[in-house]
């Protein structure tokens, strides 16, 4: 293994991209993604990374450039946040449907309006169904590891799909954390050179993005959905091999004191570590509580989730985005449907919290636990979601 150093997580992310030896980086600046891209511009300029850095004129162009460069067989990286992702939206769907293994770090930030630069998950939830593999991380080390993982999985011959690593803006991107780098040998063993599955090449000319008439469109959708679902074994394999090489074990659904716990918190991203502290304190008070963290969001890990949740009486789902006019947050809505057929379906209680960077502390999570404990035990009630801490 490489050195363990303390540095800003954005810089660690950029260093990981450098070690992954990308060929093309195309990005447009947006807070809180900027430090990652600026550091990459520097390492390219310094000759530390032999890549093309393209400072395009918008995110729409960034993702378009990425599609182009990936289509001709270049290892490709981009990075954005919030409005940038919203502007990329059109092309994000193209990347996935053309099966182009672009890797993106999404420094999660709330969507306008009101205009806000702070962290929540409203950006990523807006492209939930775009067909990219999507993972969440909790700390700097996980960011570094998952950038290696991202290229490895996305470019795998059996997958060939784009992948988003969700990194909470500011809360992770702008903090200094200890990160154990990988040495060059480990990177080499883990990440083979990019051999594109779909590419434009004169030996076998193809047209990408051609018209799909109603007679074929449904089948292409089926093929794309299957590709995403069938990526899971490769995802698991990539985590297993990372564990063998680094000693760090990652799973689609992480659990903390979950076994036998009556109540489980479900977290995604950086709030996971704060919730773990709340779980410790609640357990010290004799409460039967544990925690699950959803690391793999797409393809959704149905089996792993049902297994991890088995036996729980209540799941407190913490959403970081609002599904306007729906049944709470996008994650809770999905969890309810995932568990619907379970014999002893736990009650799903949904707290929407930490919107646009509003602080949620250990005390808040403990308060949510107390509040949930007093709530109805009926399985599904539409009013079972609470915008935590809202001033009315």
């Amino acid at each position: 293994m490489g050195e363990r150093v303390g540095l800003e997580v954005s810089i660690a992310a950029a260093e990981a991209v450098k070690m992954a030896n990308v060929d093309v980086i195309a990005a447009y600046p947006i807070t809180p993604q900027t430090h990652i891209v600026e550091h990459l511009a520097e390492v390219v300029a310094d000759g530390e990374l032999d890549a093309e850095f393209i400072p395009v004129e918008s995110e729409h162009s960034a993702m378009s450039v990425c599609c182009g460069s990936s289509a001709v067989g270049a290892r490709t990286f981009t990075c954005t946040s919030s409005q940038g992702l919203a502007l990329m939206n059109e092309i994000v769907f193209i990347t996935a449907s053309m099966r182009l293994p672009v890797v993106m770090v999404l420094a999660n930030r709330s969507l306008s309006g009101p205009l806000s630069i702070w962290n929540d998950h409203s950006d990523v939830m807006s492209i939930r169904d775009c067909g990219w593999i999507q993972v969440f991380v909790e700390n700097g080390q996980e960011v570094f590891d998952h950038i290696m993982f991202a290229f490895r999985v996305a470019e795998s011959q059996k997958v060939s799909l784009p992948l988003i690593v969700n990194v909470d803006g500011f809360i992770l991107t702008h903090v200094i954390e200890p990160v154990e780098f990988w040495d060059a040998e480990t990177v080499k063993n883990y990440l083979p050179p990019f051999k594109p599955v779909n590419r434009l090449h004169p030996d076998n000319p193809v047209t990408m993005g051609a018209f799909g008439m109603p007679g074929i469109y449904t089948e292409t959708r089926k093929a794309q959905d299957s590709a995403l679902i069938e990526a899971k074994p490769e995802i698991l394999k990539a985590w297993q091999e990372m564990a063998d090489l680094t000693g760090r074990h990652y799973k689609p659904v992480e659990s903390y004191h979950a076994e036998g716990a009556e109540t489980l918190f479900l977290t995604m991203g950086s709030i996971g570590e704060t919730v773990s502290v709340a779980v410790d304190e609640l357990r010290a008070e004799g409460k039967s509580v544990g925690q699950l963290s959803l690391r793999l969001w797409r393809p959704f890990p149905f089996e792993e989730f049902r297994q991890a949740a088995a036996g729980a009486k209540r799941i407190i789902v913490l959403d970081r985005a609002v599904s306007m006019g729906g049944q709470g947050g996008p994650v809770a809505t999905e969890i309810r449907s995932v568990l619907y057929k379970e014999k002893n379906m736990p009650v799903v209680t949904n707290f929407l919290c930490g919107l646009a960077g509003r602080d949620v502390t250990v005390e808040d999570y403990k308060a949510m636990f107390e509040k949930a404990s007093k709530m109805s035990k009926r399985r599904v009630r539409e009013e079972d979601y609470i915008l935590y801490g809202v001033r009315e």
Partner: protein, 279 residues
């Protein structure tokens, strides 16, 4: 003895206070930044022009310059990055009585939003577009923009900008703008007069104002704040009616300022009404 009433301290009032959302002060602009001067020129022009301020809307995109819309005490829309012009287009065509002022940055108007600029100019939508050109994306930390001079250093071009910048007056002229001017923020009076002219004329009017961003652009290009201003004074010449093709911004040579285009042609609303509303 009668108790003397305590005199309330006199609150000094800035002449533009009526046009500023003072509750939003202090503003975000850094010391030495050029945006504030242009903003105040714009407000002075709004007052001096005599236009009905109740029928005036300021629209901005996102950026340090884009804060304008949030600070002006008229109806305003702080839109998303790059979209000020189409938001303003919607307002103008729905309510042709409005005076539209678009106040935004070079990145906003010419990189991410460049497409909208050329089309609004082509269609001669009646609006005044003021671009604070500080040669970079100030707000996000000084990245390369579509206006950054060749070879200049920015955080995303650490060895120098390989691209050529837009000549904005040429772009505006070629796209069909009916009024095109360029000043620096040091030319406060000219900026104010130019904006005042725009507000009282019809058609798509464009004013480019060069302004320093000492924090992000100046610092990386070895230009101290006062040097930039000195350059604005020494290295510019005013040449009204100059050929738009000769208006590249290169301070090693001379940068030409002035009014380059001032012509009349029917505005979008006029032509549209004739054809579709049979007026």
């Amino acid at each position: 003895m009668a108790v003397q009433a305590k005199k309330a301290p006199i609150e000094p009032k800035h002449p533009l206070d009526d046009l500023i959302r003072t509750d939003r002060m202090p503003h975000i602009w850094c010391p030495g930044c050029g945006i504030g001067t242009v903003f105040s020129s714009c407000l002075h022009a709004m007052l001096a022009s005599g236009i009905d301020l109740d029928k005036t809307v300021m629209v901005s995109g996102i950026g340090c310059s884009g804060r304008g819309a949030g600070y002006a005490k008229v109806d305003s829309f702080h839109t998303t990055h790059g979209r000020a012009i189409p938001f303003a287009t919607g307002m103008k065509v729905a309510n042709p009585d409005l005076h539209m002022i678009v106040f935004s940055g070079d990145g906003d108007l010419f990189a991410i939003g460049g497409n909208h600029f050329i089309h609004a100019a082509r269609r001669n939508i009646d609006m005044t577009v003021i671009c604070i050109n500080n040669l970079n994306y100030g707000m996000t930390g000084g990245q390369v923009a579509a206006t950054t001079p060749s070879l200049a250093r920015t955080t995303t071009t650490p060895l120098g900008n390989p691209d050529s910048p837009f000549n904005l007056p040429l772009l505006a002229y070629a796209s069909g703008a009916t009024y095109v001017a360029r000043w620096t923020m040091l030319h406060t009076r000219e900026v104010t007069d130019s904006i005042q002219t725009c507000l009282t004329r019809k058609g798509f009017s464009f004013v480019e104002v060069l302004a320093p961003c000492p924090v992000n652009y100046g610092r990386r290009n070895k230009e101290r704040p006062l040097d930039t201003l000195k350059m604005y004074q020494d290295k510019t010449i005013i040449k009204n009616g100059a050929n738009p093709a000769e208006l590249g911004v290169d301070f090693k040579k001379r940068v030409v300022l002035g009014t380059f285009v001032d012509v009349e042609r029917p505005t979008f609303t006029e032509t549209y009404d004739k054809l579709y509303h049979k007026e």
